[in-house]
């Protein structure tokens, strides 16, 4: 028996989570908070990335971000649920459930229709949330004191504990997404963009496969939403607004879709970019973001994450001589 080679992505995720957990004590509070918001956005973006693998552009990840956040806030307010871990699990389950229900309908659509419908459903929910007093209207809802694994932390301890919860929830969700994407079903998802007809002739239901990916995207969006809600202790209807979903799409374009690590990189890059742009060009920071988006689409269309892939390939190829390639060129000449 040979030992199976450990999966690189899982190892990197574990190392990142362990590193962040140990480093947490030395990281200043405001950076931890920004990280938590970036991680939350990254999870929702990861959902968008899963769908983009099937060639489906979702402008509706905000809906699940909203569903996750509001499940937590409403459960806290009306059910008296105040245990963070339970709130997280519950929110992910509800968001996944919402996605499962919408999936029956949305899995029939492709391309622009899919993008517009996800956007429309999300905006519909936004419209309702703004008006309904149960949801706190346009002010949203606050989340008061919560316990973490039964412990009622206060002040800095609570912030630290919350940071750790965020890191590990995100790490676990990313691993689930990774296992999905590298599975045969994950390959089917990729193949959908190439050829649906062949998939059907191979005995696979394209619709069910999209449905499965959509549920995963919903659960990831919900996980992002609940982490954002518990970090900021406040939710508002803006979670379902289309610019929120637009951010998630921006993150995926920024980072590319090479790996489940990409959106995390993209979300942090966006956060840094935004901070930098807002500090240096207070009146024109959106223009800076727009310009960078344009440059990426023009020059690194596969996303910044692709730079790591290229570096990795070069690292693997180190030591090998360049001669064979040159020879190939020679022999290929007519």
């Amino acid at each position: 028996m040979t030992l199976r080679k450990p999966d690189t992505t899982i190892v990197v995720l574990l190392l990142l989570a362990i590193g962040a957990s140990i480093g947490a004590w030395w990281i200043p509070g405001w950076i931890r908070f920004i990280s938590q918001m970036a991680i939350s956005a990254a999870l929702a973006s990861l959902g968008a990335m899963v769908l983009l693998r099937a060639g489906l552009l979702s402008f509706g990840q905000g809906l699940f971000y909203f569903a996750g956040a509001y499940t937590a806030a409403l459960s806290y307010k009306y059910l008296g649920l105040n245990e963070a871990v339970l709130l997280i699990l519950f929110s992910i389950a509800i968001s996944g459930g919402v996605a499962a229900a919408i999936g029956f309908f949305i899995s029939n659509y492709r391309g622009i229709f899919f993008a517009m419908l996800t956007l429309a459903i999300s905006m519909l929910v936004y419209g309702i949330a703004v008006k309904v007093s149960l949801f706190g209207g346009s002010d949203g809802l606050n989340i008061g004191l919560i316990s973490i694994l039964g412990f009622r932390y206060r002040g800095p301890d609570l912030q630290l504990a919350m940071f750790l919860i965020c890191i590990w929830t995100a790490g676990l969700m990313a691993m689930v997404a990774h296992l999905f994407l590298r599975s045969r079903l994950g390959k089917v998802i990729e193949a959908i963009e190439d050829n649906e007809v062949r998939l059907e002739y191979l005995g696979t239901s394209v619709r069910s496969s999209i449905h499965a990916a959509y549920v995963l995207a919903g659960a990831l969006g919900g996980a992002g939403g609940v982490l954002a809600a518990l970090s900021a202790r406040h939710v508002d209807p803006g979670f379902a607004y289309w610019t929120t979903a637009g951010d998630f799409v921006f993150i995926v374009i920024l980072s590319g879709q090479a790996s489940v690590l990409s959106p995390f990189f993209g979300a942090f890059a966006l956060e840094v970019l935004r901070t930098f742009a807002a500090a240096n060009f207070p009146d024109a920071w959106q223009m800076v973001l727009g310009t960078i988006m344009l440059l990426i689409v023009l020059f690194v269309p596969k996303g910044l994450g692709h730079i790591f892939i290229a570096l990795g390939a070069r690292w693997k190829a180190r030591g090998r001589t360049v001669v064979p390639a040159a020879m190939n060129e020679e022999t290929a000449r007519p």
């Binding site: 045969r184 994950g186 390959k187 990729e190 190439d194 062949r198 059907e200 002739y201 191979l202 005995g203």
Partner: protein, 255 residues
């Protein structure tokens, strides 16, 4: 013995156009049937109906005695009806090996295996065996989008046959393949059909290929069967000569 495939009075209309107007045919086990006919005769429509891609407007399709009219391709694929395409239907961003791996994983394994890792050594090895048997080993690592048409065609057929189907439908297997490679391709396929006891229905425009490899020929014209039998008998049929063979060498005018 129950025929492998039976079509009873199949009709299909697209809008006001009748693509097939009452096709009856019955195919027994291990027959290699060639379908000939001019463009628009309803050949591909027939294949689409048999494989479940289209539901006929009227009539029934029976597969080994069971009514499969309107059953979708994904169900029929698992029951043993496979199909190749006139224009290869492949996953162009993946390599040839990955295409074959996906075909094997989806056709030969239960749904519960879907969550197992795709990059599986065993699956890879099985894909390589199939690719080798079709002489595609040299292309295994190439991205399909970069492969020449003839190779894609072969891969398309290989993916259809990899799970040893009971009934194989081939839509113009030799189109897009160079004339010197056509016979090698068909020879290889014929050997495989015999070895795996497959029943085959293939559409073909090259009459030489039909004559050589079909154990039986069905001629379609205007959505109807106009001749059905041994190759020599069908090619000798005056109606076939006039309507199908004639138009091919350009001696007859257009209808």
């Amino acid at each position: 013995m129950t025929p492998v495939l039976e079509c009873v009075d199949i009709k299909k209309s697209f809008g006001g156009v009748l693509a097939t107007q009452g096709i009856d045919l019955s195919i027994s086990e291990r027959e290699i049937v060639g379908i000939i006919g001019a463009n628009g005769a309803g050949k591909t429509t027939l294949l689409n109906i048999v494989s479940g891609y289209l539901t006929p407007s009227a009539g029934r399709v029976l597969f080994r005695g069971a009514d499969i009219t309107g059953t979708p391709p994904r169900v029929l694929a698992k029951r043993g009806i496979a199909r190749s395409f006139q224009i290869p239907q492949l996953f162009v961003r993946s390599t040839a090996r990955e295409n074959m791996m996906l075909a094997l994983a989806l056709l030969c394994e239960p749904r519960s295996a879907l969550l197992r890792p795709f990059g599986d050594r065993d699956l890879e090895a099985r894909a390589d065996i199939v690719l080798k048997s079709y002489g595609l080993t040299g292309h295994a690592d190439s991205v399909v989008g970069n492969l020449p048409q003839g190779v894609r065609k072969l891969l398309d057929i290989a993916m259809a046959t990899c799970a040893e189907p009971k009934l194989l439908l081939l839509d113009e297997p030799t189109s897009g393949v160079s004339s010197e490679e056509k016979h090698d391709l068909m020879k290889g396929l014929a050997k495989r059909f015999a070895a795996d006891a497959m029943t085959v229905l293939f559409i073909e425009h090259d009459m030489e290929i039909v004559r050589e490899y079909a154990s039986r020929v069905i001629a379609l014209y205007d959505g109807r069967v106009i001749a059905d039998g041994m190759a020599n008998a069908v090619f000798a049929d005056p109606e076939v000569k006039r309507l199908i063979l004639g138009t091919r060498d350009g001696s007859a005018g257009h209808a």
